[in-house]
């Protein structure tokens, strides 16, 4: 579903991704871990199409499309979703109006009719329940005045509404207490399916107790330096990253 080959990306002339490769098949969950500043959010931004970054090499295919050829909005419409590490606030735009616009633009792209108001509201009710989001949040402005935890839950709620093929969750667990973490994980797990893949970026293996990954990768200095099964996350938790850094420099 997603093939990243030898990807290189710069920001303001500094190379951040330095030959990153990754293969994700439908239905798989890949966890990406790594020390701060290793390029995890950069990878997410580059895949989503943030034009602050310049792609200097490599290729990315998404389904049968050349991802790097698509505009940001078309990547989203093709089914790529990014749950932001820092979701922005959009004052005066209700969450519900925002999502309705998104849902219908995606449907239009696929040649489908806009969703009826009734069906839409039903879906909102069902999907917001997955992350135990208070119904009232739907009518509040996008992320405005939301607590940190509410913002993260709202990202997962949006993901559940847009039903992407690939969801990238960028530190969706950071700043969450254990209860909120369980709620977020429960929302993600409810959306798991044989067709839908996830990239879960996290610092802590704690999240991976609830969202169990098929693979764990360590991103360090812009490259994936180690891959393994979920046990790798436990090892990282116990031993930290130093041994990886040593392995890399050896």
């Amino acid at each position: 579903m997603l093939h990243i080959k030898d990807l290189h990306a710069n920001i303001d002339g500094t190379e951040i991704l330095k030959g990153l490769s990754l293969d994700i098949k439908p239905g798989e969950i890949h966890a990406i871990m790594g020390p701060n500043g290793s390029g995890k959010s950069t990878l997410a931004s580059v895949l989503a199409g943030n034009e602050d970054y310049e792609i200097t090499g490599g290729s990315v295919t998404f389904g049968d499309k050349d991802l790097l050829d698509l505009s940001t909005e078309d990547r989203a419409r093709e089914g790529l979703f990014l749950a932001f590490q820092y979701p922005v606030e959009i004052p005066g735009v209700s969450n519900i109006n925002f999502l309705r616009t998104a849902v219908n633009e995606i449907r239009q792209y696929k040649g489908e009719e806009p969703m009826s108001a009734g069906d839409f509201l039903k879906l909102v009710k069902e999907r917001s329940a997955l992350v135990e989001l208070d119904g009232k949040l739907a009518n509040r402005s996008v992320n405005e005045g939301f607590s940190g935890g509410e913002k993260k839950r709202n990202e997962v709620f949006q993901m559940a509404m847009l039903e992407p093929k690939l969801a990238i969750l960028d530190e969706t667990d950071s700043g969450l207490d254990i209860d909120a973490l369980k709620i977020v994980a429960q929302g993600v797990n409810a959306m798991r399916s044989p067709e839908r893949s996830f990239v879960v970026i996290t610092h802590y293996q704690r999240l991976l107790d609830y969202i169990v990954p098929d693979f764990v990768h360590v991103l360090y200095k812009g490259k994936i330096v180690k891959s393994g099964s979920k046990e790798l996350a436990l090892e990282l938790e116990a031993r930290g990253y130093d041994w990886i850094k040593e392995e890399v420099s050896a």
Partner: protein, 482 residues
């Protein structure tokens, strides 16, 4: 910022002709250019006016002749040549119209192009439309229904003929001839406009709406509007306009006077979309308007405006809060793009006790435009316990545009409470990226963000107008981020 497709979008928008840039070929009966006492006598005679009104006009002309054009607004332009303007033009076919079928087919087409087909207006929204084309009203609807309630809604010319006592009593009572340069000019040469009177205790059951349109090349437009809400009455009045594109600048100097008698309420909403001029600001409408209302005991006046058009806008809808416990409100969204210049705001003059005013101004600047808010809150000595809240926000879409805020506050009574808040922000690339990542196009993203920003004001508009206004904001700002 350079999202994919940005350039195409810009090209598409800049290449786009002004949407309503067409003219109508209705034969007109037009005065030669120039302004002197003779011109004024001609206008008055053509309109078959009573002697007192001619004298009133002539006095206004004398006052105007001694005035100098104001310089203080934060705008720059080449001053109009007042002698090059023709001050009177009327469609030749001026017949009594009993139904839409009798309306000139050319005019009907104009209305349809404007998207305000009267049939539709009538059917969908129950709006009575008094369509003003080139200074002479040619179609009036719903007159009968309103008549049953004693509501008068007609052209100013008709009001002068049919209700001279009301016109004589209130004309110039809120905006005197001496008020300012353009108001004096308007008083001398106004040719038409709308008149509305709501009798005591009557709640007008529908939104009253007038669409203005400047039509003849080189014809100045001097509208005069008078709305009188008698004791304990209510009216919601809508004003919307659009104009054909032109090479020479078109001057528009309207005067609007509102009178809210004891316990009455007037809601006055405007969506203004006049031709803003081309890329270099050439050819747009000059919009110099004086709008003011007076509030008597426990009455209320709300001005709501969405300003997107004109090359230059100079406009300060104001409230004189004369009666105790009276309320004045001003809600404004002003969009400037390209080379547009807007200097708008309001004046709230508190005279009565316990008077209350609210000002919400949302400026949106794009392109190379200049957008200024100028507001005066004046609390007189007599205005015990007066309250004002002002919020003036500016949103910048590009690095080349300007937003300016000039709040003036004069407080002469120490029991007053005046609060002023102001913010300036640039439209967020991160907000747009967030929208794009959810599959929303850049155009829609801007529209969402801008409409969200202006929501507090748009919410004050009557429903059908709000929808129109949202579309207008989106059109005015398409592809304008940079």
């Amino acid at each position: 910022m350079a999202y994919a497709g940005d350039d195409e979008l810009l090209e598409h928008v800049t290449g786009k002709e002004y949407e309503f840039g067409f003219t109508t070929n209705i034969e007109s009966d037009k005065a030669p250019p120039g302004l002197n006492e003779g011109t004024i006598r001609l206008i008055s005679q053509k309109k078959n006016e009573p002697e007192w009104l001619l004298e009133w006009r002539l006095e206004a002309f004398r006052i105007w002749s001694e005035m100098v054009e104001p310089e203080w607004a934060h705008v720059q332009y080449e001053k109009p040549d007042f002698q090059a303007i023709s001050y009177y033009s009327a469609p030749k076919k001026k017949a009594q119209l009993n139904s839409l079928d009798e309306v000139d087919p050319e005019l009907r087409r104009t209305m349809e192009k404007l998207g305000i087909s009267m049939e539709e207006q009538k059917r969908l929204s129950g709006v009575a439309v008094d369509f003003v084309l080139d200074s002479v009203s040619v179609a009036t609807s719903f007159k009968e229904k309103l008549g049953e309630l004693g509501i008068i809604f007609c052209s100013m010319s008709d009001a002068v003929q049919e209700h001279p006592e009301l016109v004589k009593k209130y004309l110039g009572s809120v905006v005197p001839k001496t008020d300012n340069f353009y108001a004096a000019l308007n008083s001398a040469v106004f040719t038409d406009g709308s008149f509305c009177y709501i009798p005591k205790g009557v709640r007008c059951p529908m939104e009253l709406s007038t669409y203005f349109r400047i039509n003849e090349a080189g014809t100045g437009q001097f509208e005069r509007t008078l709305v009188i809400a008698d004791e304990s009455s209510y009216v919601s009045y809508l004003e919307g306009c659009t104009a054909p594109s032109r090479d020479e600048n078109q001057l528009h100097a309207a005067v609007v006077e509102l009178i809210a008698l004891d316990h009455a309420e007037i809601k006055y909403s405007t969506v203004q979309n006049w031709y803003p001029g081309d890329e270099n600001g050439k050819g747009g409408v000059f919009n110099f308007v004086t709008k003011r209302g007076i509030c008597h005991l426990r009455s209320k006046i709300s001005w709501t405006q969405v300003e997107t058009g004109s090359a230059i806008t100079w406009k300060y809808p104001s409230c004189i809060l004369k009666g105790d416990h009276s309320v004045g409100e001003f809600y404004s969204v002003a969009v400037t793009n390209k080379r547009q210049q807007a200097d708008t705001g309001t004046k709230m003059i508190h005279i009565g006790k316990n008077t209350n005013s609210t000002i919400i101004s949302k400026g949106i600047s794009s392109g190379y435009s200049q957008n200024s808010y100028r507001g005066l809150v004046q609390i007189n000595k007599s205005a015990k316990n007066a309250r004002n809240f002002s919020q003036c926000d500016s949103l910048l879409m590009t690095d080349h545009c300007g937003a300016h805020t000039f709040p003036y506050i004069e407080v002469k009574n120490s029991s007053a409470k005046v609060e002023h808040e102001a913010t300036t922000s640039k439209i967020g690339e991160d907000q747009i990226f967030y929208c794009l990542q959810r599959g929303i196009s850049e155009e829609k993203a801007i529209s969402l963000i801008v409409n969200g920003y202006a929501k507090d004001v748009l919410n004050k508009l009557p429903m059908e107008f709000a929808v129109e206004a949202q579309k207008l904001l989106a059109i005015s700002l398409e592809g304008s981020v940079g």
